[in-house]
């Protein structure tokens, strides 16, 4: 089958792909484009491991069809670091040991990036509320919250 031709911008690069109607954007990113940062935890919108930013909105890519992305701007975790230079959030996740198995981490990073873009100075409660759509089965969340708080301080000063 020929598939649907879709033209998008992914992490700043114009990207075109063919996909089937019933393929999710998560599957397209991972299986067709080799962007395996976003993970499939649940496939039902519950865990946030598949989080990406679509036209400035943080979304679960497991509930978006690849075909829907026509003309949209996509940001994934792969776009956060510049070469060897990690994004402040990535650096702070490392320093605070805010990950164990790492499955949830790309989702948390992109969700935290979106959160700080909209609210550069969040309270702990706002961080916890903002990241409630991202589940982690390892860390107990505390280190993640500390990492985001710390990153916010650095990023505000930058």
């Amino acid at each position: 089958m020929a598939g649907i031709a879709v033209s998008t911008t992914i992490n700043g690069d114009i990207t075109e792909y063919l996909c089937q109607p019933d393929e999710t954007l998560l599957d397209v990113l991972r299986d067709r484009l080799g962007l395996t940062g976003a993970k499939e935890g649940c496939g039902t919108g519950d865990c946030g491991a598949c989080s990406i930013i679509l036209d400035n909105r943080l979304v679960c890519s497991c509930l978006v069809l690849g075909a829907e992305a026509e003309g949209r701007r996509i940001e994934t975790v792969e776009g956060m670091a510049h070469g060897d230079q990690l994004h402040t959030l990535q650096q702070k996740f490392l320093e605070h040991a805010a990950l164990q198995c790492g499955i949830c981490t790309p989702g948390f990073l992109i969700a935290a990036k979106d959160l700080l873009a909209k609210n550069p100075d969040p309270s702990e409660e706002e961080i916890r509320f903002g990241l409630a759509g991202n589940l982690c089965r390892c860390t107990g969340y505390d280190k993640i919250v500390r990492a985001v708080q710390d990153a916010a301080i650095v990023m505000k000063g930058a």
Binding site: P21, D22, C60, V64
Partner: protein, 327 residues
């Protein structure tokens, strides 16, 4: 997911026509539809993507009320300054729903059409009996695990709970659903299960939700949405209440009161009995608590969901008393 074809609608009329064909469904935020397609509950032949339509996401608020386009996202509406100030219960209901991701995706039109979270309904591979999915097939929940099921508005055919937060607030403030020219009160838009639980909304093939409208009122301005759930965020309601109040000039006597329940009924549940019992009365904790018991008149439990019958009146009373404090 079963194979389907994908169509991007270029106009509202084209979307309506395409979705009127058998097997076709409108696709908005996809947070209900793609989810249900994955578990085999929704089996569309064609998805008609309406998210690229322009102008259907507008939010307009003035003295007379608010009109919210069907494609406005939950998060956008929750965060709208005039919705927050004139309809706090609407904003709070949306803020307390789902997660940032889901609120960024889900639309107001799709929200009204969301389906029950009944686990038997969502699991056709393991539970063939579900009257909501297949009329006449039976109900796997009755006699099963019922902790999340409804205690109000149930029938012998179905006891599924309506899980939405927004519509609970909408029904309290006499909102209407716009299906193009046709307008329906939210209360009439949602149907009781009766003998036809497969039919949940008074929407006909070829119709599409274009907007919702909420009349402005003093009670809407002084309103709140209280949601009690198993964890503090990102969970459906165990019981919730949308409440709005207007006092007489003395600041104590209740002139107008609106009360609706979520998480306990088969549809968004307006409780006029509580409203009528308290209108004209002075707001006192005992009076409010006694009247709130009327919220669950006629409730029937199925074992594990009995707690909802005790919880719901307390949620109503707490919400009303909270609004009294902010005098």
């Amino acid at each position: 997911m079963r194979d389907f074809s994908y169509l991007r609608a270029t106009s509202t009329d084209a979307a309506r026509q395409a979705a009127a064909l058998p097997g076709a469904m409108l696709l908005a935020g996809g947070t209900t539809l793609i989810d249900l397609a994955k578990c085999g509950v929704a089996e569309p032949d064609t998805l008609v993507d309406i998210t690229h339509l322009k102008g259907l996401d507008r939010i307009a608020v003035d003295e007379r009320g608010a009109t919210i386009g069907a494609l406005a996202r939950m998060g956008h509406v929750a965060d709208h300054a005039d919705i927050k100030s004139r309809f706090p219960a609407i904003s709070e209901a949306l803020w307390q729903a789902a997660s940032a991701q889901i609120r960024n995706m889900a639309t107001i039109g799709g929200n009204l059409m969301q389906r029950t979270r009944c686990p038997y309904f969502r699991d056709p591979a393991n539970f063939a009996a579900c009257n909501k999915r297949v009329s006449g097939s039976g109900c796997s929940a009755i006699g099963g695990v019922t902790r999340g099921h409804a205690v109000l508005g149930t029938s012998e055919a179905c006891i599924a709970m309506y899980p939405g937060d927004l519509a609970t607030a909408l029904v309290a403030f006499d909102a209407t659903v716009h299906l193009g020219e046709r307008k329906l009160l939210v209360d009439d838009f949602f149907l009781l299960p009766g003998t036809t639980p497969d039919r949940e909304h008074a929407i006909e093939p070829g119709e599409m939700i274009t907007a919702i409208a909420i009349p402005g009122s003093a009670a809407a301005r002084r309103s709140t949405y209280l949601k009690i759930r198993d964890r503090q965020s990102y969970e459906f309601a165990a019981a919730s209440a949308a409440v709005g109040i207007e006092f007489e000039a003395d600041g104590r006597t209740i002139r107008d009161l609106r009360v609706a329940l979520g998480g306990v009924a088969t549809k968004p549940w307006r409780v006029r009995a509580v409203e009528d019992a308290l209108k004209g009365k002075v707001l006192e904790p005992e009076t409010v608590r006694a009247a709130s018991l009327l919220a669950v008149e006629g409730a029937v439990d199925h074992g594990a969901n009995h707690y909802k019958i005790e919880l719901a009146p307390r949620v109503v009373a707490r919400a009303i008393l909270k609004l009294g404090e902010t005098a």
